[in-house]
Symmetry: C2
Subunit: 407 residues, 2 copies
């Protein structure tokens, strides 16, 4: 007998009919003889409704009270799902974050899970009940209600799976798995059967928004096998796990991309220690997140410093650089907000030379000019003119034969 944690997001439980559908799926799983803990989000739209009520009263709602307010969203879902399970003859018990003893720090609206006391859940499981837990929420040592921030329900599911030593944590969502790239850009994109935690982290942070990064980190840290699959279409989904010997030996797992980038270059700054901090300090102070950073070797004691930001932050970043230009001793500031980032991701590239050159050659053959390059152990990212995005993704998908199962 195995123990599984299921997680159903807001879309999956967005209406009474969908809650019934989820109850049916749970019943089927239960009838296979396994123990089940189910984590649910608020019904879609509910969190926004509550947030809107709060904002009508307070521009920046008090964080402690905001958590009290938002936590009601999941509390509604757990009760309704347990009722739906009971009508199917499947005994179930609901738990809020506090009742499930999901202990967090006191950082309201972005709390971190410290510990979970699973004794009451285990008792219910032993009695053959399905345990339904409110995602996204916990309780501080002082007894205050806390929430975990965006994607918190994924984190709840993974944390429960880790605490219960579950065999697998299944994240049910509206896509049927992780793809080699976005099928809207490359119709030949293929669902991956497996992917490593590290690859998933690179894919997620680069725009494949299937899973919240924090929950993947958490799953990796505690070695919880994660599976992403569809609530609405049956199928095996994609298993996210550690690399092992039996895994499909792909060089490249997928191609991630990000449309919302803009780049800024500080040209001809003196090549001296502290110059990077002098440039990025004021950017960080303005709460602008920096993605790629590239600095090449100096020529004539000056260098060019380039970084990318979210396209929305571009005008503000440009304004800041113009202000500090004189202090930096820079020759000029240039920028471009019509760029995209395309990344090859794959643990296989660790042990294989020639990936980068193959990538650059494939792009060159299509006349695509590379504006910036940045690499990590398991990824190569290039910045391109926006107009080349689709062509670049399809070209690389073909070049690395990602539509085929083994490379």
């Amino acid at each position: 007998m195995a123990l599984y944690v299921h997680k159903y997001g807001g879309t999956s439980v967005g209406t009474v009919d969908r809650i019934r559908h989820v109850a049916n799926k749970i019943l089927q799983a239960k009838q296979r003889g396994d123990d089940l803990v189910v984590v649910v989000s608020a019904m879609s739209g509910e969190t926004d409704r509550l947030l809107n009520l709060a904002k009508q009263i307070q521009d920046r709602p008090n964080p402690r009270e905001l958590d009290v307010l938002l936590a009601t969203g999941e509390q509604v879902t757990i009760a309704l799902l347990c009722m739906a399970l009971e009508t199917l003859g499947c005994p179930a018990s609901s738990y809020t974050g506090a009742q499930a003893r999901i202990l967090t720090d006191a950082a309201h609206t972005k709390a971190r899970i410290l510990d979970i006391d699973t004794s009451r859940i285990r008792k219910d499981l032993a009695q053959g009940k399905v345990v339904v837990v409110a995602g996204f929420q916990g309780v501080s040592e002082e007894g205050d209600i806390t929430t975990l921030g965006r994607g918190g329900s994924d984190t709840t599911a993974v944390a429960l799976a880790a605490a219960l030593k579950a065999d697998e944590c299944l994240i049910y969502t509206d896509v049927d798995g992780v793809y080699t790239t976005d099928p809207r850009v490359e119709p030949k994109a293929r669902r991956l059967d497996r992917i490593t935690f590290e690859e998933m982290l690179e894919m997620a942070s680069l725009g494949s928004k299937v899973l919240q990064i924090r929950s993947v980190e958490f799953a990796g840290k505690y070695n919880v096998p994660l599976r992403v699959l569809s609530t609405f279409v049956d199928g095996p989904g994609t298993l996210i796990t550690y690399e092992d010997e039996t895994m499909e030996k792909a060089l490249i797992s997928g191609i991630a991309f990000n449309r919302d980038e803009a780049k800024l270059t500080v040209e001809g700054v003196p090549d001296r220690p502290g110059i990077a901090a002098a440039i990025l300090g004021p950017i960080a102070d303005a709460n602008i997140e920096v993605d790629m950073i590239v600095q090449n070797v100096a020529e004539n004691d000056t260098t060019d410093f380039t970084f990318t930001v979210h396209r929305n932050d571009y005008p503000k970043a440009l304004e800041i650089l113009d202000k500090i230009k004189r202090d930096l001793g820079a020759r000029r500031i240039t920028g471009d907000d019509q760029i995209v980032k395309v990344s090859l991701v794959g643990v296989g590239m660790r042990s294989h030379a020639g990936i980068a050159s193959k990538m650059f050659r494939a792009l060159a053959q299509e006349g695509i000019n590379i504006r910036m390059i940045s690499t990590s152990e398991i990824k190569i990212s290039v910045v391109l003119d926006e107009k080349y995005l689709e062509l670049a993704v399809r070209t690389l998908h073909d070049a690395f034969e990602l539509d085929k199962v083994s490379t």
Copy 2:
């Protein structure tokens, strides 16, 4: 420095604007230098919305899960009210029933409060905070969320006032106090400055639905002075307290009435022990609540047995009596669902003879025939034909000069 418990019902916190209005009232009270604990209901309509969701899933929703669901209603209000108080510069902290340690039995949807641990509330009060508590809800010893049933927020307020030994419990509602009778029937009806717990119980159960009976019983038991007043119109309201020497010496406090009555008579049953039980047993088994019961002395070894029920239950009750008529040995069954009950209520009548005869004379002078009479220590109820209701109420209001302050 005094300690007050305020309670605001669903209509008083029904919109964001009304929550702001309540926050302003609380701030004013706080600025008078007193400590404040505030109990709130769910925003009006919210409990029905949640109940409707549940009923779409389960005809008779699981009671434990229904409590989890309904408890979110008040949880939303406490958070929003604390935010509104903060925008006014008034520090406040919210507590769910569980967080306020309102310990109840495990009778879901109609739990009874067993104990309240007020240590955390007292700590917040000592720090100058307003404490905002979710009404209607508590927590069982097992840690399950419970609710107190209809009017539960009044009960929460009174229980907190008792546990904190508050100087007064103020119930803010949409009427500005308790009246000598319904002003829609008698425009000369007068707001009472004071009324005793016992009178209030008789008034409430007889249809003056200002306060939930349970909360009045509770307040009487723990001697918590209760004040009913309006959220929307300033004024002293009505204080509900024990009779004391300084109290206004009114014979009669008010006239309650109930339109929804129907009466049934079992005529000519043998006058033997157990006959009342034989008649009312099957009625109770059908979950029909009986209000007045009248049995007069026997003639020729048979008697007539009359009782009243809610008008909705009349056809069912008649059907039951027809079925058992033969077993009872009754001559015949008669009934009337076009009747009303009118009651004089007042602790003063304990020590004054002649109230009843004055009442009957006043009614007779207007040609109003009395169909049934039933009395208790502090009330006299008569059953009349429905058409006489308004005339009877105005006649009695005049006869006992209830529009004047002292009698």
